[in-house]
């Protein structure tokens, strides 16, 4: 057989599909083709035989890079099936392809393909592997174990705002960044399925660091059972590590009229200088827990909005000797007016 050496090394041309991003563990690499080309015409594809190898290299959001990143070339990603190299043999063709790879590590990645016999290799363009749906949660900070009714609960106030903060990650522990999905913070009585009401913004998305913040969250009513918190989403149902005892009323902020108070609803005018009819108030916290055992003070202020019309005043002329007498009287007789 007459073997004619190539006068110039061939190149590998990449036909890379337009992929925006691939979700780790969910989306597979679409068909990515590689084609040997040569500037000369001596490349006879029908007679060519070669082996190729491929691997994955990625840049991660923490600034590190890694070659030989594990991937799963043919099936759903599984630690046991994961590998860092995939190879194949090509006979009688200048083209070959890879497809169906699944990834576990989120980052900006490329596939490197090498043909050792020709001593050539090529890198695909970068493509993004993003975290899959949130599956795991990890609380940042600590929750209180005991609070009073209607109290705010938080685990972190790093931003200056008291929030329950948690890292959310996918099944491969990639942080779920800038999630489109909202995650619901809810509560339930420990050991039961009965829900417990939380006050405040109970939905949150993750930020660019993969952290979700539920801020200004308040517990509600006093409970004899501990209250446990849960974060839920399409793929996550995570119970936070601490359950909270809610005992005693919280800060008194709400007043409501007691049973026997009708003075404020009355249309009968109040007489100036005389005492108002009794008004009975019940004081509670923002969740309606009556402020038993708390020293509560109510301050009453009076704001005049409309003065009585001055036309109701009377003008008279008195004799001067009467006026002098009147000036020394402490109280005028009723018939004076």
């Amino acid at each position: 057989m007459n073997v004619k050496p190539l006068t110039s090394a061939p190149l590998i041309q990449v036909l890379f599909p337009a992929v925006g991003s691939l979700s780790a563990g969910l989306q597979s690499l679409p068909k990515t083709q590689f084609q040997l080309t040569s500037s000369g015409s001596e490349l006879r594809c029908s007679r060519i035989v070669f082996n190729y190898s491929s691997s994955l290299l990625c840049n991660f959001s923490n600034g590190t890079s890694k070659s030989d990143v594990a991937f799963s070339p043919r099936a759903a990603f599984n630690d046991r099936l994961a590998q860092v190299m995939f190879g194949g043999s090509v006979r009688g063709s200048c083209g070959f392809y890879v497809e169906g790879w699944q990834f576990a590590s989120a980052g900006s990645c490329q596939i490197r393909v090498s043909i050792p016999v020709l001593a050539i290799s090529v890198l695909t363009p970068f493509f993004a592997v993003v975290a899959g749906p949130a599956v795991y949660g990890n609380l940042i900070g600590l929750l209180p174990s005991q609070v009073s009714g209607a109290s705010i609960i938080w685990s972190s106030n790093a931003s200056g705002i008291p929030c329950i903060a948690a890292h959310l990650s996918d099944e491969f522990h990639n942080p779920v960044l800038m999630s489109e999905e909202s995650f619901l913070l809810s509560a339930f009585f420990s050991g039961t399925v009965f829900p417990y009401e939380l006050l405040g913004g109970t939905t949150a998305r993750t930020n660019s660091a993969g952290v979700a913040h539920w801020c200004h969250i308040h517990v509600s009513v006093v409970s004899s059972l501990p209250v446990c918190l849960r974060v839920s989403g399409a793929n996550v149902n995570w119970t936070l590590p601490t359950c909270i005892n809610v005992s005693g009323s919280g800060l008194a902020t709400v007043i409501s009229l007691g049973n026997t108070s009708d003075a404020l609803n009355s249309t009968v005018p109040v007489i100036s200088g005389a005492g108002l009819p009794k008004i009975r108030f019940v004081v509670s916290d923002a969740a309606g827990n009556v402020a038993y055992g708390r020293v509560v003070v109510i301050r009453m202020r009076v704001i005049r909005t409309v003065m009585m019309n001055s036309s109701s005043m009377y003008v008279s002329v008195f004799r001067c000797d009467l006026l002098v007498r009147l000036a020394f009287l402490h109280r005028l007789p009723d018939n004076c007016v």
Binding site: S272, V306, S312
Partner: protein
């Protein structure tokens, strides 16, 4: 912030009135407002703030304007008079007065019930 037409009653403008404080006597969450005094005749807003007395003895609000109510206040019976002169002049004893003297008849909330004026003939 009060509007121009609004004014908060004080203990100066309203005897026994102004900001008045009421405490839960039995710490059972119930507070009774009794013998609260309002003075200005016309329409007024009662504003109830909730709080506690701080270590320095001052009221510390936990909720401002926790409840408000509008009331109508009527003038009461005359309870006092006030003598006023139209301008400040120096008068001489046992001489004819040169200034006009007013008398205001006030109820116990200092609302003017009656208004009278005359020249006094002389200072006695």
């Amino acid at each position: 912030m009060l509007a121009d037409s609004e004014a908060e009653e004080t203990s100066d403008s309203c005897p026994g009135g102004g900001s008045q404080y009421f405490q839960a006597l039995e710490n059972n969450g119930e507070v009774v407002i009794s013998d609260a005094v309002v003075c200005s005749a016309g329409s007024s807003i009662l504003i109830f703030d909730v709080g506690y007395i701080g270590p320095d003895g001052l009221f510390v609000p936990s909720a401002l304007s926790a409840m408000t109510a509008t009331i109508v206040v009527e003038s009461g019976k005359s309870a006092a008079i006030r003598l006023l002169s139209a301008n400040s002049t120096t008068e001489r004893t046992f001489a004819r007065l040169s200034t006009l003297v007013y008398v205001r008849f006030l109820d116990s909330g200092y609302n003017v019930r009656l208004f009278a004026f005359s020249y006094l003939k002389q200072i006695l």
